[in-house]
């Protein structure tokens, strides 16, 4: 268990990086608290795997330092950093049995066989493969392989940190529920520092205390799930978190009210914005109310997705998404209002605080 500091880390895969676009990681400067559970969220190709590989030592950063509990480990090998990592695509040793696969990381470190047996049995139980313990890992299905991969990451009890790179993608939803709560339990029990990369927001948000959102090689926001949802710092976070993402509408600020292409909306504060900045209003589809009062919209499509309906409409000459409850009705002359507490204002894509 360790506190991990990333000190101005930059990374480029190619030699001699010059332009910012040569860097896969632009600049990451961040502290991961000892025992923290972090989810790392971001679009494909934003540098999540790169970041994990730098922490575990599989990659040497082009610039910057990594510290474990204040000790510089930048030049230490993966083995010496004592980290467990679960990979994006399952890796299993197919000539070994399921049991031996799980025992492998322990035996390599000369853990006494009795302890190995205890740990392996526990993990094998957790991933639900007890009945296959003595079978060769070769003929297993994709999800079973992934469970073994996950199991190998969890089997050591003495690691500095566990890094997960999308460990549950091919596992079916019902099993995901079980594994997710087991992971949470293990985290409580052993207090590992955990970094968990995922594309699945539910997964990220159930698992982590803190969610780190990455975008184009940089960390754009770190916050609790609620903060990310309610006060996205950057329009990208607003768009990326939540499905559908936040509506972002071009706006003109006028004291403590906004003008959205002719439609006026009152604000609870007067944002201070530098002259010439591009200003936008962000409102989540969940906080747009559809009813008989308010500003007129033209509905183009209603998607019934079971629990709720997503209404696609045009408002102030811009597309807007509105979430309506499954039993909610859609009026003939639809109008919308915004929940005033859920409005965010952005200048050049960054959030402008009113209260803060």
């Amino acid at each position: 268990m360790a506190r991990i500091n990333l000190d101005h880390i930059r990374h480029a895969y190619g030699p001699n990086p010059k332009k910012p676009s040569d860097y896969s990681l632009k600049e990451v400067h961040h502290e991961w608290n000892d025992g923290g559970a972090y989810a790392l969220l971001g679009p494909s190709g934003c540098g999540k795997t790169t970041l994990l590989n730098i922490i575990s030592g599989l990659l040497q950063p082009s610039e910057g330092k990594i510290l474990f509990d204040g000790k510089d480990v930048t030049n230490l090998s993966t083995q010496d950093r004592n980290i467990a990592q679960v990979f994006q695509f399952p890796v299993i040793y197919d000539t070994m049995t399921v049991y031996d696969n799980l025992a492998f990381p322990l035996r390599n470190r000369h853990v006494p066989e009795a302890e190995v047996d205890r740990r392996v049995k526990e993990i094998i139980e957790m991933i639900g493969l007890s009945d296959r313990a003595k079978k060769r890992a070769q003929g297993l299905t994709a999800d079973q392989k992934q469970k073994i991969s996950l199991g190998r990451g969890l089997v050591r009890s003495d690691v500095s940190a566990i890094l997960f790179d999308e460990p549950l993608t091919v596992i079916d939803p019902h099993m995901k529920w079980v594994l997710r709560s087991q992971l949470k339990r293990l985290h409580k029990q052993f207090g590992f520092t955990m970094v968990y990369v995922t594309h699945d927001q539910t997964e990220a948000l159930t698992f982590a205390d803190k969610v780190v959102v990455m975008y184009d090689g940089e960390i754009v926001q770190i916050g609790t799930p609620a903060e990310l949802f309610e006060k996205p710092k950057h329009t990208f976070v607003g768009y990326f978190i939540g499905s559908p993402g936040m509506n972002v509408l071009p706006a003109r600020i006028d004291g403590s009210s906004v003008d959205l292409d002719g439609q006026k909306v009152a604000l609870s504060f007067a944002p201070k914005i530098a002259a010439g900045a591009k200003t936008e209003l962000g409102i989540r589809p969940e906080f747009v109310r559809l009813g008989r009062e308010g500003m007129p919209v033209t509905i183009s499509k209603v998607e019934d997705i079971g629990r709720q309906k997503i209404v696609r409409a045009s408002f102030a000459n811009r597309p807007i998404a509105i979430v309506v409850h499954e039993d909610g009705e859609i009026p003939a002359e639809p109008k919308i209002t915004f929940d005033p507490n859920a409005i965010n204002i952005y200048a050049n894509s960054w959030r402008v605080g009113g209260e803060a």
């Binding site: 299905t141 999308e166 091919v170 079916d172 594309h199 948000l205 499905s243 019934d304």
Partner: protein
């Protein structure tokens, strides 16, 4: 039109696919929804002609294609574990099916760029797949399936490694793309939510049987049996075995739930009552909601929502609540069931009451 008639697949002592009939229309989007090992991949392999069915026939536009090899048919397939040619650039990977079919250079270039644009791969066309992130590699494989312009496109959990937002966009774009080309599009997934977002038709699969096939939303709303209902539920469906007696659902003679209007016509007797987690709530959703006492097992916070696991009337249920509710385990609470959405299933598992408006598929 692809038609499966009485198809089965038996391997050794295991039956992978039980007798199945299925008709897929041209230009349609069809989702195969089921947990892992439910037979999605087996069924797709049969459709593609990679495997030969043990019994039954497969026709395409009326022509019998049962024994026809996959090479001789117009089929594109993307696997869960996708494959790229490691030594070729992304561009060449995408272009490869067109090169094989002998398209001219200009067409190839146009199609490759179009597919790359859709998959957001344009900046990476000159790289080899090994120098890409995981998701970018998978998108390359997808792009290759798209340019093939096959009349049957089979995608086996193709979006599993793609980020959420890209999946959202592709769910919009892919059906349009295939509808325009008139191909039949089959998409396997384990996630009910994904099926709902894709729309189209859904076939729910469980243990090698198609339990129901019909328009996605109606399969979701009116499952023909409890197997379908369970397959089509995430988080898991809440169930409880009760006896209907007059206007009450009882257990051991004690009323647990009132009988809602839409189920008032069914005969007295034993039923399995089921409902989705979002029909359980901490606050009374409307006047007719039923009140129950429960004990908290654990609460999980998922961003704007919470999953609260409760023990209620001896059953373990999940409640999906808006907002953040971190309630201590073992707290006794009162919760509400939105009885308007209750489903009732008979002893044989078939749905009772409420018309099932989708046609079911025979599964012997």
């Amino acid at each position: 039109m692809l038609e499966l008639k009485n198809i089965t697949k038996v391997v050794g002592a295991d039956t992978h696919i039980h007798p199945t009939d299925l008709v897929l229309e041209r230009g349609s989007l069809n989702v195969l929804l089921g947990p892992t090992l439910s037979g999605k991949t087996s069924l797709m392999r049969l459709m593609a002609g990679l495997d030969k069915p043990t019994t039954g026939t497969i026709t395409f536009d009326g022509k019998d294609v049962t024994g026809v090899r996959v090479q001789d048919r117009s089929v594109a397939m993307v696997y869960q574990q996708f494959i790229n040619y490691p030594a070729m650039t992304v561009y060449e990977n995408i272009a490869s099916p067109m090169r094989i079919s002998g398209k001219d250079a200009a067409t190839i270039d146009r199609e490759v760029r179009k597919a790359a644009e859709l998959m957001k791969l344009t900046p990476y066309l000159e790289r080899t797949p090994l120098n890409l992130s995981g998701g970018q590699q998978q998108r390359t494989a997808l792009a290759r399936a798209i340019v093939k312009n096959a009349s049957l496109v089979l995608l086996d959990e193709p979006l599993a490694n793609l980020d959420y937002k890209l999946r959202e966009e592709l769910r919009e774009e892919l059906p349009k793309l295939f509808a325009a080309s008139g191909s039949i599009f089959v998409y396997a997934t384990t996630e009910p939510q994904e099926a709902l977002l894709l729309g189209g038709n859904t076939a729910t699969l469980s243990q090698g049987r198609i339990s129901q096939f019909g328009p996605t939303i109606s399969v979701y709303r009116k499952p023909a049996d409890i197997v379908t209902a369970k397959t089509f539920a995430d988080p898991p469906l809440n169930t409880i075995d009760l006896v209907k007696s007059g206007d009450a659902f009882e257990r051991d003679g004690i009323t647990v739930l009132p009988v809602p209007a839409h189920l008032s016509g069914i005969a007295d007797g034993a039923y399995t009552i089921a409902f989705h987690p979002h029909h359980l709530s901490l606050a009374r959703p409307h006047q007719t909601a039923a009140t129950l006492k429960a004990r908290i097992i654990i609460s999980e916070i998922a961003g704007s929502e919470s999953f609260i696991h409760v023990d209620c009337a001896g059953s373990r249920w999940v409640m999906l609540e808006h907002g953040i509710h971190d309630i201590e385990p073992d707290t006794a609470i009162e919760l509400f069931v939105d009885t308007r959405h209750l489903m009732a299933f008979g002893a044989d598992g078939r749905a009772i009451g409420g018309s099932a408006d989708s046609h079911t598929v025979r599964g012997a």
